[in-house]
Every structure is written in C-alpha cells, then in structure tokens.
Symmetry: C2
Subunit: 364 residues, 2 copies
C-alpha cells in the first residue's frame, strides 16, 4: 500500500480536537531506545542496520498498541514525495526522511503512534495527541515501550539509564514536546522574553520543523532538554505546568492587544484574509504567516462559524509536498506558488469576510 493511501486525509487529521487546542496544536512524547549489543545506527555497518531493521519492524508492527494493519515500510522503498509528506504531517523527522537502506518506520492506522527505526537511535518511538495531552501521550508511548521490552532487550546502564547515540537523550530517552500557536506573544513582541524564560527552565523552544528551523506561522515547539535526573512522569508534569503558563501568557497577550491596539490586530487579520483570498502567487512562508493570523481571527470569532480545522488543513495542504500530490512532473517553486495561491483562493471562498464588530463588543 502506498503511504498516501494509508494516511488519513488532512481534513480528518485537522478535525481532531483536544484540550487547549486553540493554542496547542498537538502534544508529543517520544522515547529513544537502542538494542543491546548492536552498534548505534550512525556507527553500524549496512548489514547491521539491515539486521536491526528486520528485527525491529516486525516487532513494533506486532505490538497490540499498533492496532491491526499498521503501515510499516523501509525508507528506501519510499519516494521522495512520500517522505516529504510524512515530514509535513510531522510523523517523521527531516533527518529520518534523509535515510535510505537500513532505516524504516511503522505507523498505526489512526496516526497516534509512529516509530522510526534506525534514525539516530535504533528506535525513536513517538505518541501524538491533539491539543495539550502530554500525560495521555506519555502513557501511550510508555505502553508501547513496555510491550516492546517483552520482545527485545534495550541497551541500558544501571548508572545512566537507557543508552542513546547522543548524550542529550541519555537516561530516560524521553522528549516531551508540544506545538504551540503564539501569534499574540509575537504581535505583542513578548515572545523573546517568553523564550528566554522557558529556556531558563531547561526547556528548548524551536520552530515548526524542530531544531534550527524558523518559527513560521508563529508556531513554536517547546520541549525538554534534560533527560537525566528526573523520572519521565516528573518531566511530563513539569513541561505541562510550563505550557499552561505559556497558554495563559498567550491568552493575556491577545486580550491586551485587543484592548490596547485593536486596530493593529484587526489590520493584521484583515490583510491576512485579503492576501489569502486574492493572491495569485504566494510563498509557503508567507502563507504560514497569513494562516496564523487567520487562525487568530477564527479564535477571536471574526470569521463566523469558520472552524479552525479549515485553517489547520490549509497549513498542511499549502506545504510543498502536499501541493506536489497528483502532479507526475516535479513542480518548481514558481509553479507551486501559483498552485498554492489557487488552492487558497478556492478554499477561502467559504470563509466570510472578517467582522470585528463582535470582537470589539466582547473586549469592551
């Protein structure tokens, strides 16, 4: 089966809801694990990588948590487009998409558990949930981990805990993260302050596609950096508390903008609507930033009954890989910018023109 046929549609994916999903797109917990006595993927020979792949893919696929008929595939069997789509859906890392022979991944049918085999570690197992559901994600991936330990033996040190390719993952091997939409803090120019404060608490703040990427669309990933010295439960609990504080700051920033500079806010949102509805050439980067403002407008009630799932769907569909779907020839950036604009013009037709009058009343 083709990856694209397996994946749920962007519309379905975006209709999922969870607590605090106005601000928190999704929660994710991933565990890094390695097989005992087998070289880490970066140091392993091709034969070793193929061997661990052959062991792990069936082992993971057979777990009860992966449900019936998970999708399991070797990375070298995927097309460049398949890989790009998986990255754009945030199911695999960019690094994993660059892998070929000897790497693979397993994804369950509802896309709540995705396991990368032979990325930086033998196993990068992740559980995903919409909104702020770190504990639920942690419990899910903990279950996967426990079940898998009945089948294979992990590299473990009594002194350090789980051994990993990179020392930053040593110990629990856990990375807890949430993807946040923070346009209020960006508009209020408070985002750098928040990032610094969050960094001081030992958490990392990154852009949309992880380490070293830009915060396009005012979307930020917050995650733990330390994996030693605390239990997984403590890490999850600590991040959860910080996220609740960030959510509060974002809500306050929105309210403050609405009270102090409503015209500036409406101007940004109105122009974003205008650009999305009427452009004929638009880059991915601009689209993300305008969609962020549209989503903020939806949150504020400026677009009638437009659901935020529509905006989230456009976030996905306007990415280069998703635009490529259905086109046999490789599209260049110029063609994509025109296709993206056409898609947006079409889809924006159902979004009514912005109406700020109700918002003003609420703020007054």
């Amino acid at each position: 089966m083709n990856v694209l046929d397996f994946l749920i549609t962007p519309a379905e994916a975006c209709q999922r809801s969870g607590p605090n999903d106005k601000i928190v797109f999704s929660s994710r917990v991933r565990l890094a694990r390695n097989l005992k006595g087998v070289p880490f993927p970066g140091h392993a020979k091709k034969a070793d990588r193929l061997k661990s792949l052959e062991t792990l893919v069936p082992a993971v696929s057979g777990l009860p948590q992966m449900g019936t008929e998970p999708f399991a595939e070797a990375m070298d069997k995927l097309t460049a487009l398949d890989k790009q789509i998986l990255v754009e859906r945030h199911l695999i890392s960019r690094e994993h998409a660059a892998k070929g022979v000897g790497s693979g991944f397993v994804l369950n049918k509802d896309e709540t558990v995705c396991v990368m085999v032979n990325e930086e570690d033998h196993l990068r197992m992740q559980a995903l949930r919409p909104g702020l559901q770190l504990k639920q994600a942690w419990m899910a991936i903990d279950g996967v981990d426990s079940s898998l330990q009945e089948k294979v033996e992990f590299a473990f040190s009594d002194q350090y805990g789980f051994l990993t390719a990179c020392p930053t993952n040593l110990g629990t091997g856990i990375r807890v993260s949430a993807m946040l939409h923070l346009p209020g803090l960006v508009l209020a120019e408070q985002i750098n302050q928040i990032i610094q404060a969050v960094n001081k608490l030992g958490l990392a703040v990154r852009g949309l596609y992880g380490e070293g990427t830009e915060a396009l669309g005012n979307i930020f990933q917050v995650s733990n950096q330390m994996t030693l010295g605390e239990t997984e439960g403590e890490i999850v609990e600590r991040i959860n508390k910080v996220l609740l504080q960030i959510i509060e700051h974002e809500e306050n920033a929105r309210l403050a903008q609405l009270e102090k500079k409503p015209k500036v806010l409406f101007n940004h949102i109105g122009r974003a609507y205008g650009g999305l509805s009427h452009s004929h050439i638009i880059t991915s980067k601009e689209t993300m930033n305008l969609l962020s403002l549209l989503r903020l407008g939806v949150d504020l009630g400026m677009f009638g009954s437009t659901p935020k799932s529509l905006v989230d769907e456009l976030f996905l569909l306007s990415q280069p890989g998703h635009l490529q779907i259905g086109h046999p020839e490789k599209l260049d950036a110029e063609v994509r910018d025109a296709l993206r604009a056409e898609l947006l013009r079409q889809r924006m037709k159902v979004v009514p023109a912005p109406d700020h009058t109700g918002v003003v009343t609420k703020a007054a």
Copy 2:
C-alpha cells in the same frame, strides 16, 4: 460662501469623462502673466501685492469665461484645510496654498478654469479638462487670456514675449500638462526608459503634485519645459503627439504583462483589492499604490461593472485633507490611517471580488 460648499463633490468631479481617460486623468493648460509696470509678486511689497490682487480678482471674476458666480477669495481668508482641499483637487499649487495676504484665487462653477493671483506671477491662469483634451484646454484658457487683455495690460517684450518671474516661463508663459496613469509601464519596469525618452523631447515628467514630488499611485505629470521659440499651438500639438505615444506604450505594456506574466498582474491586482477591502490601518501612500492597481483591474474588466470613477473618487477621498473634513480637531496621521482604512472598507463593499477569468479569455 465656504470653499467646501462651492466645490463640486468628488463623486461628481470623477464622473466626468474625456477621450483616452483610461490612461489620461486630466489635461491642463496654464498661462503665466504679469501686469505691466508692477513688481513681480516675489519682489513686490505687501501694498503692491494687495493692489494687484484688488485689481485682478474682480477683473478675472467678471470675465464671461468665469460664468455666473465664480468663487473668488483671498488666500488669507482660507483655512489651512480649505487650501489643502484645493491642492488635493489639483486646483491650486502647493506653493500657492502657502501664500497668505496679497494672494488669491478665482474658480468658475464647473471647475474648468482656475486662476491663481500672486502665486509666482501675478496671474497663473489654468484650464482643466478630463481625459486627453489639450487643445480644448488651450482654447479655453486662450479665451480667458484674450478677454482679460481687454481689461488689463500685461508685461510684454517684443523680443521675448510675455515676461515672467522665472525665465523658464518667459515667452508664451504656457505650461501644457497631462496627468497620466501608467501602472503597466511601472510593472513592466519600462517607465524609466519612457521618462528618459520624453525628457529628451524637452518634456518634463513629474509626480502627482508637480515638481519634486513622488509618482504615487503610478500617476505621472507630463509637461513642456520650453516656453520660447514655438507658438502655443505648436507646443500643444507636440505634447499631444508625445502623449498619444505614451498611451500606446502603456497599452502595449499592459497587454504584454497580460500575455507574459498574467499571474504577476492578477496577483498585484488581487492583493490590492484584498488590502483595500480589509485593512484597518493604511497610509495615504500605500492607498494610492493599491488604488492604482485597482484602477488597472477595472480597466481590464476584472471588477464587473465597477466604474473607474469610484476608484478616482477614492483617490481624492483618501487624501489627508479630505479625511479631515467634518472633524473639528486636527487629526494626526495615526487617526487618519484608521479613518482612511474604514472609508475604504466601507466603499469597497460594492466592488465585487476580482475575477480574472474573463481577462484570460480576452488575452488568449
């Protein structure tokens, strides 16, 4: 009577039409004249200026060409807002608006003839026509000039012709000009080439408010520089020919853009529509540039039956002075930018969303 009560409304003013008015907003011919034996305004004492004002205002007002009940007023009797409105309507120069005691102006009821008294010269008499009607404007102002010569004696030299304060106006004292809308040449990046070619023909190309001003809204003024050595008729004829060539170049530039880069063109026009329809803060400069693109879209048939008079009216109404009307307190730029956006949002409601499909068919 107040200037504002006398002036025709922007809507009326913009509904006037003339030949080639897709590209030529208006034609203007002005004559510079001075009284014999009276110092030029720049060198005259206050008493002399008052005297010439007292002579000239009734003389001009009583001309048959000024019709019944022209508006005649001393500049020191006008408020700053009155003057600003007259400048924004292109009835008086910025320089004249800065004058006080000893200067004045006379305007006929249909705003086709406007005479400035004691600007740089004793008389700056101008006739205005919509579209490309240089000859008609010339004939009109020539009539005013002839009638006036029956009442007063002008400073005239057999060797040089009419004497003027600045030698650039010496001889005929004529300045023939047209205001052109050239978005096609600007988008095609051919405008500088055209300006250079026109300059070589001895014509000046200036921005919206004359010498030294920016070409906001892709609006350019073309006028003669030489006033000696040719008859008025020859000057009018020569400029008319050049203007017809510029019009052709503009039309070709539009067609070429439409054939070679339709998406770029539709993108500019679509985004202009979006910005005008949905902004909450917008500067005068940005407004002019977006209205220029909207007007181009109207010309191309992208906005249904929207008349270009609506766009032209918005060009006027969105200027700082026009926005100030009806507000007793002096508005600052920030407030104006919000008021302008509100005006545009309201007025743009009757303009349908851009539809490029018909345009593509025509170009194909």
